[in-house]
């Protein structure tokens, strides 16, 4: 974990409200890990967490959706601007150990971390990405089994990823997206006792495990998304949604 000021190499809009930010820096990162980013001075006072989306020898990149003040400010970044970066953070997953067939199930911007899982997992991977309308974040997934759903029907299957996903086929499922979607995936996997990992989200303050602001309710009590997570086992997490 380091705290550094990195140069922006690129910040491009890849779909409506969706941007890809590439920063110059060398890191060792596991899929599912994230960084706290800040490209502004005063407000908002806190940094914002973003999952590793892609990485090269001397860069890291993020795929983000503009939601509020912080991401709006990120979206204005230009080449050579600076970003304060804390990370890598969170448990992440040692994907080299994965055996058997894996399903990655993402919804909306939740696909961002899964794209990096797809890139790093050497085992057999099927990818299920669900979007509202426009599709993004799949440029690194050309040689993979990719099932796209859109709510509007614009691309792929018209409907939700949970409509087409069958847990029988998989030894491991990893999911990230809206709570409702993850909840459905969880229930589907429970039926077949398919091992499941969830990537949880939560508002964060410190990002490193010190403040207990990013609580996730689990069977063992409250745990920290930023330090004990963001990856939690399906059976651990208590989803309120």
């Amino acid at each position: 974990m380091q705290y550094k000021s990195l140069d922006v190499l690129e910040n491009v809009m890849v779909a409506e409200n969706i941007y890809k930010l590439t920063l110059k820096g060398e890191y060792e990162v596991k899929p599912g890990q994230f960084f706290m980013l800040k490209s502004w001075e005063d407000e908002p006072i806190l940094s914002r967490p973003f999952s590793i989306y892609d990485k090269g020898e001397d860069y890291i990149s993020f795929l983000y959706e503009v939601k509020g003040k912080g991401t709006e400010k990120l979206s204005r970044l230009k080449k050579e601007d600076k970003v304060k970066v804390l990370g890598p953070l969170g448990n992440g997953m040692d994907v080299s150990r994965i055996k058997g067939k894996v399903a990655l199930i993402g919804g909306g911007i939740g696909i961002a971390p899964l794209a990096y899982f797809a890139k790093k997992i050497e085992a057999d991977v099927d990818i299920y990405f669900g979007f509202r309308d426009e599709v993004y974040g799949i440029e690194n997934l050309r040689n993979k089994e990719l099932f796209i759903t859109t709510k509007s029907g614009r691309v792929g299957y018209k409907g939700y990823v949970t409509d087409i996903f069958n847990p029988f086929d998989y030894n491991l499922v990893i999911t990230c997206g809206p709570l409702v979607m993850m909840n459905k995936v969880k229930r589907i996997c429970e039926k077949t006792a398919t091992p499941l990992y969830l990537l949880m989200e939560s508002k964060m303050a410190c990002g490193i495990g010190a403040c207990l602001v990013c609580a996730c309710k689990t069977k063992d009590g409250m745990r920290r998304v930023c330090k004990d997570g963001p990856i939690f086992k399906g059976e651990e997490v208590v989803l309120d949604a």
């Binding site: 974990m1 380091q2 705290y3 005063d42 407000e43 908002p44 006072i45 806190l46 940094s47 804390l86 508002k203 964060m204 303050a205 410190c206 990002g207 490193i208 495990g209 010190a210 403040c211 207990l212 602001v213 990013c214 609580a215 309710k217 009590g221 409250m222 330090k227």
Partner: protein, 298 residues
Amino acid sequence: MLEITLWGKKFKNPVIAASGTFGFGREYNELYDVSVLGGIATKGLTLKKREGNEGERCYETAGGMLNSVGLQNPGIDYFIENELTFMKSLNTVIIANLSGGSIEEYVKGAEKLDKSDVDIIELNISCPNVKEGGMNFGIKSKVAREVVREVRKVVEKPLVVKLSPNAEDIVDMAVSCVEEGADGISLVNTFKAMAIDIYKRKPVFKNVFAGLSGPSIKPIALRMVYEVSKAVDVPVIGLGGIRDYKDAIEFMMAGASLVQVGTANFINPFACIEIVKGMENFLKVQGINSIGEIIGIV
């Protein structure tokens, strides 16, 4: 130059990480060597383990943040067995922040901490009194007096009482605590505040209210530290919105012998060490030989 000795404890510098924002020091120690700090105040400890609050725990406001962590902590026994040895190895002053929901709980917790290796006990009276309708112990001087009196009986270590800015009369509160035996006063804890989600038409927090901290509260916190410092003759630890060395110097000039840094750790993870360096530089440039010279100068 920044060294200061209080209650027989030597602080390398007056900068202490504030309770609840620095865990037990482990996490920030992965980022930088936290032994350069003057001290670390632990997360608020209660007799029994607590899970804390459900729902939103954090919400940003202009220049500040609301938190509703709700005293999540592993309990005092766990702390002593699993965290304290590590903390003591950090070679800085360890302040145990003691929280509770009733006077008996405070007293039992205090007994355990007093027998442990912590250097100082910071009695956090900004806790809801579970037995008395949930009103904070830190509002009325009379109620606070009782807690301090009972805890003092069982504590031989230096006992600092951490005040709530929601106290009806902050000066009277401080004086009362000192009369009951407090060796020092720290202030301020968070301000009772709230936020509303106008789309859901509900409070953001399950408990409705939450605690405001960060730069936005600094001018009020500074005023309270100034007033209290003039009124008591024990050392005062000043905090509330300190984000850089200038803020820290302001608190010391207002009368604080030590300062704590909370929310600023989230704004800038290096805040504490940058403040230490900044204070050192300030003293040099201003030709001040020892930090003691400016304490309470205003």
